[in-house]
Subunit: 380 residues, 2 copies
């Protein structure tokens, strides 16, 4: 797999300038970039620069309205429902999470749900926003239909990630995970890297296990009428398929049902129209349980007990959620981020589209090894 | 597998009278019985009458204090922390969920967490309490250490189920599921039925996959120093192990960390002392999102779309969560409940212990086919 290493600063400059070229303000572009590149810093390469092309195409085809502003359409002291008016998911979501944080600080718990948004990046970015202020942060989103639920061969639910973050020392607990066994971005990465999928990840349009990333992406794209990614827990109830299906349902209810928005199976793929993505943002102030410092301390102790458990293999450490990401963050800030050559090729095409000088941003790169067609054929 | 069929009324009479003999009031005994037998009615046989022996032993050895009353030790308009003082988990939990429902009706969302309780039966009973009043109900509990988390061979986390219920027609969405790939009760049932476990369910004290239910139960009992049940998602990150581990963490945080109680790995197994089990009860009034009838309607439509999806196998229906349980409820109320002969043998021994006439309650049953030792050797 060919990659090119860039510093965080280089990628930040590229993304900020590109989003300004797309029509966002400097402040908005910086916010979108911050969400996007936190994924690369955390080592979640499915949701970093490799997703740039998707946002590019969504803006180009009018699914993302650059000028849209989120609007509160219903509100109580503990809650709000926001209409995103098909704006950029990251901007709507930062607005919504800030509102949830404000309310939780006032009343102890809050729940803000959002409809008519677009893809918002990593769910964990928003959970982290609350965690950074000493609060418990939760976020979910739905997506285009991608999950083939138990006994079905047709995807109805989205990847529907659930993120949960809570302060602890030396690392917070930071969990961010699709309720599918893997997110679609992982398939995009496997496709770019020409790797075969694990045989418990996905099914084709007949409902049979499929290890071809490109084929499953075509299923998800809706061209074949069925097929998609399995829930965590796999294909049958004996391995817990109904559990992953259930977690996905919880995420779906928290975002699309509460907001009165589109469920995953009603997301739009129409030029000029927003996807209709829905999100939820839940914040809990630990003060509502008494001594928040004692609560943080007890979580820190428990996380250490988990890391100190007897290892199945002495050579393989036990992690708590968020620990790998913190290590990755430090490493990538210091050493730079390796970007897949196919993604670099997409970024070069973005420069051409936007009239930016790709060499000035990305260097004089050899992209002859890039997988063909990933720019033109974006899997929605 | 030998079973004896009893009517719901017969089992109800037996349980109510037995719990009164244990020292509970008639009202308390009826409440405990209602939680216990809903599991059998719903077809969750791991948590019904087959668990009676565990409660019996817990009361006998003083882990469950029959006279204890729950106490609110911290409270805000949206929250409460309750100390269960080692009472019967079901009674503490009904009290806590009633408080959560009351608060949610007043302020929109509520969160009540509980420490120093004991096993509370099916988490979904409490979620259903809220759902029956038109609200979204959520409940989690921790348990003795049972889950071997990713890269570990030692169980630290509990089975940590997560239950979520929300009104819909013709069935509510009712999800109740251990975050382990299977609950311990399933192993108890497989042990009584002498069946081999699936090879993705559990590991032994060396961290190797183990299909022997009795051996894994001994691991969980703490005798072998390691081993237990895997998270949903299995043993490795490639199949999503870290996801089930993460869901279990969320449940653990919601109950033991927020309540300042014992995490699963600090549950007590000491005669005369409560287990230290913790629970959480979260209630959301859909009114905080606007039109609650429209929200219920949209969930009902979505659940029907899931059931109507293209089937992987035309002969196998697609279910939504709670649907099987509603069908089971009706069937078992009408046709009776099949109780495993080993469980009947345990109930006969309970009668001897309590001075009840077993024949009057259970009939003149032949229990010679019962698995030996399940009464004396209760896996905590």
């Amino acid at each position: 797999m060919d990659t090119i290493r860039y510093s965080y600063k280089q990628l930040e400059q590229f993304c900020c300038d590109a989003f300004v070229e797309f029509g966002f303000t400097g402040e908005e572009a910086a916010q979108i970039t911050d969400v996007l590149l936190l994924a690369d810093l955390y080592g979640i390469k499915s949701h970093g620069t490799q997703r740039l092309v998707r946002y590019h195409k969504s803006i180009e085809n009018g699914s993302v309205k650059v000028d849209a502003k989120p609007e509160i359409i219903f509100e109580t002291p503990v809650s709000a429902v926001i209409d995103g008016h098909s704006g950029m998911g990251q901007l709507i979501s930062v607005y919504a999470m800030k509102l949830a944080i404000k309310k939780a600080k006032e009343v102890g718990i809050s729940f803000v749900s959002v409809r008519n948004s677009n893809h918002y990046g990593i769910a964990g970015y928003y959970a982290k926003m609350a965690c950074d202020e000493g609060l418990i942060g939760i976020s979910t989103t739905n997506s285009e239909s991608i999950m083939v639920h138990t006994n079905s061969k047709q995807a109805i639910l989205g990847s529907n990630p659930l993120a949960f973050a809570m302060p602890a020392e030396p690392y917070p607990f930071w969990f961010d995970s699709a309720t599918t066994v893997v997110p679609k971005g992982r398939l995009e990465v496997y496709n770019k890297e020409n790797k075969a999928l694990y045989d418990s990840w996905a099914v084709d349009e007949t409902g049979a296990i499929c290890t071809n990333a490109e084929h499953v992406l075509e299923c998800i794209d809706g061209k074949l009428g069925a097929g998609g990614i399995l829930p965590v827990g796999g294909k049958t109830e004996d391995t817990g398929s109904h559990k992953g299906y259930g977690y996905s349902m919880i995420a779906e209810i928290l975002c699309s049902i509460t907001s009165g928005g589109a469920t995953s199976n009603h997301h739009k793929r129409v030029k000029g129209q927003g996807a209709g993505t829905c999100h939820s943002f839940i914040v809990i102030d630990p003060e509502i349980f008494g001594d928040s410092q004692a609560i943080k301390d007890s979580l820190s102790v428990f996380l250490q007990e988990l890391r100190d458990a007897k290892r199945a293999d002495e050579q393989i450490p036990i992690y708590t959620h968020g620990e790998k990401e913190m290590q990755s963050f430090k490493k990538h800030l210091e050493e730079g981020i390796d970007v897949n050559i196919s993604t670099v090729a997409e970024m070069v095409k973005m420069c051409e589209y936007l009239g930016m000088n790709s060499t000035a941003y990305l260097g004089d790169v050899d992209i002859s090894g890039a997988k063909q067609g990933t720019y033109d054929k974006v899997y929605k």
